[in-house]
């Protein structure tokens, strides 16, 4: 019987084992990005901006020109890079602490300027790298190491919905929230990433893809339970959907 290879690692991915925990969805998100880069044939003109957080080592896995930005500042780095190299495809990859806490000013203003960049926002409702502290997107009642009794909105406010907030701005072209928790969501996540990169390539403006993700280690759950928890608890708070789309 003749063997046909029907599945392989994307060309833009570096052939190494990732440092991510078992069950972490960063690997899925990375792979989707690499697949989209391959399919759009943009590897040599793509520039990645990695955040501070678990995915700081994004550049160890995706083989494109890369920056390692200071905590929260990836949209500023990406904005300048894209302005100087308008023919390149520039994306930042940021977690919820990086983007929605320390980097709130940078993401809002990059979006408001309509920078022709793509921002990929990994929302797993917790700080991963530092070991499970409360994030701006931590759910009410969700336990974290810095809210051991669960997030109390009287003390810490409510989870910030980035897509909804950015969608109030006039300039952004494409804003969507997807997930990679289960295959049915992952297929749509890839479509969203493709559209986001195409939005940039076609010069239509700022594109933003929020990916609801799991952090089994810091949530204290088995990977499969984490995917179910995401569906049951995160999706009602952070509904999937398209919030803005290019005309």
């Amino acid at each position: 019987m003749k063997e046909t290879k029907i599945f392989e690692k994307p060309k833009s991915m570096i052939d190494v084992t990732t440092h991510y925990c078992p069950g972490c969805t960063h690997g899925i998100a990375h792979r989707l990005i690499a697949e989209v880069i391959d399919e759009l044939q943009i590897q040599e003109k793509t520039v990645a901006v990695a955040p501070v957080g678990c995915s700081v080592f994004l550049y160890n896995y995706i083989n494109v020109d890369s920056y390692e930005a200071a905590h929260g500042r990836a949209p500023a780095v990406a904005s300048a890079c894209k302005r100087l190299l308008p023919d390149s495809v520039v994306f930042s990859y940021q977690g919820d602490g990086d983007l929605a806490s320390i980097g709130m000013a940078e993401i809002v203003h990059a979006a408001n300027r309509g920078e022709k960049i793509t921002v990929i926002f990994i929302n797993n409702a917790i700080y991963g790298m530092t070991g499970g502290q409360m994030a701006p997107t931590t759910l009410v009642g969700q336990k974290a190491t810095t809210c051991p009794l669960g997030r109390d909105p009287k003390l810490a406010g409510y989870p910030i919905r980035m897509c909804e907030m950015l969608a109030t701005l006039q300039a952004p072209a494409y804003i969507t929230r997807v997930s990679v928790a289960k295959p049915k969501y992952t297929i749509k996540a890839k479509e969203a990433l493709t559209k986001a990169f195409q939005t940039q390539i076609e010069g239509k403006g700022f594109s933003f893809v929020e990916i609801l993700s799991t952090c089994p280690t810091n949530w204290g759950m088995r990977p499969v339970d984490a995917t179910n928890w995401l569906e049951e608890h995160m999706m009602p708070e952070f509904p999937l959907g398209v919030f803005k789309t290019p005309e």
Partner: protein, 353 residues
């Protein structure tokens, strides 16, 4: 002599950067340097460049990080409190070895301080300001013409060493008007950004990685020693100073920037009275030109440092002079300026006359 223009210092600094081939500016408004971004916002779009007003100094310096990573000539300007906000980013730029030019038109501090000229950011400029063992190459002009010349040199030095270079001016220099000439100069043999910058993956056949994180302590130590070797090269090749009437001086005034100019007038008047006084003016504050102070003419009995600070550069002067000769310090701060008469009085007092 080429064509001369009567220009405000800040505008001359901006035009000098454009003459040096800088087409990209990112910044945030702050007094007393606003004429620099204003000038850039008008001129850069006309030459196909980019002017972008950031949402903060924090964003501005990270835009510089992103822009410098492309290997093109980029700059920002700010004033003291703004440089404090930028200091984290400057550390990242130094750690990632990116070339760029930073202008600090100093005002008084600490805190919100004031908006009048000061020299109280000497420590911040020469000792860091951000975290980690890094150095900026710091150039301190004394006239608007020198500010123009040093700004153009700053871009060459930034590329030569792949290091941020700071032009340390003060509010006087930013706001005064003087005649200036723009001399076209460009150092030869500067490194090709295609070897390290983003945007050349196809040409180079491999990707660029702009980073400062080394989790392996051996790697981070090696990276630090590599940076230190670079700073040692700067110290060997880039020290600049001006000596004025030093050879027979009995007392030497050490001063930089605007204060050195005031001191020069005081020196000329004192010389008219027969007082043997000279001037030592560092032009590079890092690397600091220690050697001339270590090998002073035998006639020099003491040194008087004059600064618009409570005593910052004086520490470098003392390091160089040691205990062989007394070093005193006269400072005015908060936007107050040492006058010619005050400096003359300080010299007379030091000499016991």
């Amino acid at each position: 002599m080429g064509k001369r223009f009567l220009m405000k210092g800040n505008e001359a600094l901006a035009e000098a950067a454009i003459h040096a081939g800088c087409k990209y500016f990112f910044g945030y408004p702050i007094t007393p340097q606003n004429e620099i971004p204003e000038y850039m916002s008008k001129k850069l779009p006309e030459i196909g460049g980019v002017y972008l007003q950031a949402e903060s100094e924090v964003a501005a310096v990270n835009m510089i990080f992103g822009a410098a990573g492309t290997g093109k000539r980029v700059m920002t300007s700010s004033s003291s409190p703004g440089i404090s906000l930028m200091s984290e980013g400057i550390s990242y730029i130094a750690g990632a070895e990116l070339p760029c030019v930073l202008m600090n038109v100093m005002r008084g501090g600490p805190g919100l301080g004031g908006i009048l000229p000061s020299q109280s950011d000497y420590f911040q400029a020469t000792r860091g300001g951000g975290h980690g063992d890094y150095r900026l190459l710091v150039l301190a002009p004394s006239t608007v013409q020198e500010a123009v010349d040093l700004t153009m040199l700053a871009f060459d030095l930034a590329e030569k060493y792949r290091n941020p270079v700071m032009v340390l001016a003060d509010g006087f220099m930013g706001q005064m008007m003087e005649a200036v000439e723009f001399k076209e100069t460009r150092s030869e043999g500067l490194p090709d950004p295609a070897e390290w910058a983003v945007g050349y993956m196809k040409q180079r056949g491999s990707r660029a990685l702009i980073k400062s994180l080394y989790l392996d302590p051996e790697e981070l130590e090696a990276h630090n020693w590599k940076l230190q070797a670079k700073y040692a090269q700067m110290a060997q090749h880039e020290k600049r100073f001006e000596g004025y009437l030093m050879d027979d001086a009995e007392i030497l005034i050490a001063a930089y920037g605007t204060v050195a100019r005031i001191a020069r007038t005081a020196i000329n008047e004192l010389r008219g009275e027969g007082v043997k006084v000279g001037l030592f003016r560092p032009i590079t504050l890092f690397p600091f030109p220690y050697e001339p102070l270590e090998n002073l003419p035998a006639s020099v009995r003491q040194i008087l440092t004059v600064e618009m600070s409570c005593g910052q550069m004086v520490e470098d002067v003392r390091l160089a002079v040691g205990k062989e000769r007394p070093v005193s310090m006269y400072g005015r701060v908060g936007g107050m300026t040492p006058s010619v008469d005050e400096i003359k009085d300080q010299v007379r007092k030091a000499l016991g006359r």
